[in-house]
């Protein structure tokens, strides 16, 4: 039985797809058979971030509507063997997803995979609720700004009430906080919420902190999940996140402003 993890946030543009791609890749690199599903029907992005947009033939909606088999729609990642992608449809809308259809897809995948990552669309409507409904764990992606924190809080409320585990009185979904686009120097200046404030308001365990990094945009545009960029701060932070998700105790990094050394100041060595 696969573990189903939803990557969600409420607010758009906080880094759900980037995180889903990086974490799915990380889980696969660590030897877990992983599939990542794009639930953002109509705004298909995951395939771009994963760099497989030219290989999409069938999608999630085709599978749900019986127009294609699961194996026809699953795309094997060209870099990591254990990793598969199930893309969303770009020409349909979220009404094309049905609760029964989603359940069947997850059930058939569950036998073959260790991890199923559901990349949720933004918002709290049907698409987001279907993405979270069957989850065992949730990664709530939050930026250090008040609107993002409030929307994450709203999503946490939905995770505790509008999901299969909540409705069947099972043990609650395990919730993880993932803070992205964290800029320690702007936090120091008071322009951004700090780590402790976010943790206090949301009151869930922190699974990772991803610093704001040029590597993320570069990775997205090249279609290579940023976790492959071992040298970058964001790539390392995602690797740490994956380790924590797998139960390892890894110290937090990148949350404090790094004092630039005299040399790097002289030669203008910026962050990668």
């Amino acid at each position: 039985m696969a573990k189903i993890i939803v990557v969600t946030s409420g607010k758009g543009g906080v880094g759900k797809t980037t995180s889903a791609a990086a974490i799915a890749t990380g889980l696969a690199l660590r030897g877990n058979k992983t599939v990542v599903i794009d639930f953002d029907v109509g705004l298909r992005n995951l395939d771009l971030i994963m760099g497989c947009e030219r290989r999409v033939v069938y999608d999630l909606v085709n599978v749900i509507q019986g127009e294609a088999g699961l194996n026809q729609a699953l795309i094997r990642d060209k870099r990591v063997d254990n990793l598969h992608i199930l893309p969303a449809s770009q020409t349909r809308d979220k009404d094309a997803l049905t609760a029964e259809g989603v359940e069947q897809v997850l059930e058939s995948l569950s036998g073959d995979f260790d991890y199923i990552l559901c990349d949720s669309p933004a918002g709290i409507e049907r698409g987001a609720q279907l993405a979270m409904y069957h989850a065992d764990e949730a990664i709530v992606v939050t930026n250090p700004e008040v609107s993002s924190v409030r929307d994450s809080d709203r999503i946490l409320g939905l995770l505790a009430s509008k999901t299969r585990r909540a409705e069947n009185n099972q043990s609650p979904i395990k919730e993880h906080l993932l803070i992205t686009r964290y800029n320690a120097s702007r936090v120091d200046d008071g322009d951004m919420l700090n780590l402790e404030d976010i943790r206090e308001i949301l009151a869930i365990d922190l699974v990772g902190l991803i610093p704001e990094s040029e590597a993320v945009l570069r990775a997205s545009n090249h279609g290579v999940p940023v976790i492959h960029d071992d040298d970058s701060d964001a790539g390392q932070a995602y690797a740490d996140t994956v380790s924590r998700l797998l139960g390892e105790d890894v110290p937090l990094r990148f949350h404090e402003m790094q004092k630039k050394s005299l040399l790097s100041r002289m030669f203008g060595g910026g962050r990668r």
Partner: protein, 245 residues
């Protein structure tokens, strides 16, 4: 003759007040269908039906004449007290008055929201975890964070929240509201009009504080009190916020 009447000689004073009121939005005029649905609701949340005053809204009905008397009887049989009717045409207004009910013009609709305790449209805070919930006397104890969009109500007695109430969340009680954590959302005490109720919290950042319909917004609160432990009580129809030390 002076217009200044001696306070002691007055039998009453008129005061404007904001009382929380349940609106029963009728989508059917058939008393039998209303009876069936009420019976179902009564078994789900018996605590809600405590001679609760309701305003019958007939705005969504398109019928000039209504069996208002029978509808009221059905409500009373289920421990709801119709106090007024909102909307409808002239015959409806006349029969409301004949039944001793008030009549309100149709609302603009912008300030009406579905009520969690009767309408399942708003998701209640995770009530599935039975360990998070305990009843103290007739009140209610809630353990955990009340999150944005959630509403936790104690229809009778006090509400005790052991955790924070986040921005965008709402906690309501017939009695007092106690929050053992940060209060960032809205807190309404004395929702049935109990003026002795109060609000107590460890850390005040509330969006709205209300006791028996008298309210203060975050903007009206002395900034020096923000972030501190306070009690909020009614004193002569004024909300008094004082430090808890």
């Amino acid at each position: 003759m002076s217009l200044n009447v001696d306070r002691a000689s007055m039998a009453f004073t008129f005061k404007g007040g904001m009382l929380p009121m349940t609106v029963m939005e009728l989508t059917s005029a058939d008393p039998e269908r209303i009876r069936e649905q009420l019976a179902g609701k009564l078994s789900q949340s018996p605590a809600f039906f405590q001679h609760t005053p309701v305003v019958l809204s007939v705005e969504r009905l398109d019928e000039p004449h209504l069996a208002l008397e029978r509808i009221c009887a059905v409500c009373r049989a289920h421990k709801l007290l119709p106090v007024a009717v909102r909307g409808g045409q002239d015959p409806v207004k006349q029969s409301a008055w004949a039944l001793g009910l008030g009549w309100f013009p149709p609302s603009d609709g912008s300030r009406v929201r579905p009520l969690e305790s009767v309408a399942p449209a708003v998701e209640p805070a995770a009530e599935t975890d039975s360990s998070a919930e305990a009843t103290a006397g007739s009140g209610r104890i809630y353990r955990g964070t009340v999150r944005s969009g959630q509403q936790v109500t104690a229809p009778e007695g006090d509400l005790v929240v052991i955790g924070a109430v986040n921005a965008g969340a709402e906690v309501l009680a017939a009695g007092s509201v106690h929050v053992y954590g940060a209060l960032r959302g809205r807190a309404l005490a004395g929702i049935h009009g109990d003026a002795r109720a109060g609000i107590f919290c460890r850390e005040l950042h509330a969006e709205l504080l209300s006791v028996a319909g008298n309210y203060k917004r975050l903007e009206d609160i002395d900034p020096q009190l923000l972030g501190t432990s306070v009690q909020v009580v009614l004193d002569d129809a004024q909300l008094e916020i004082t430090p808890l030390t």
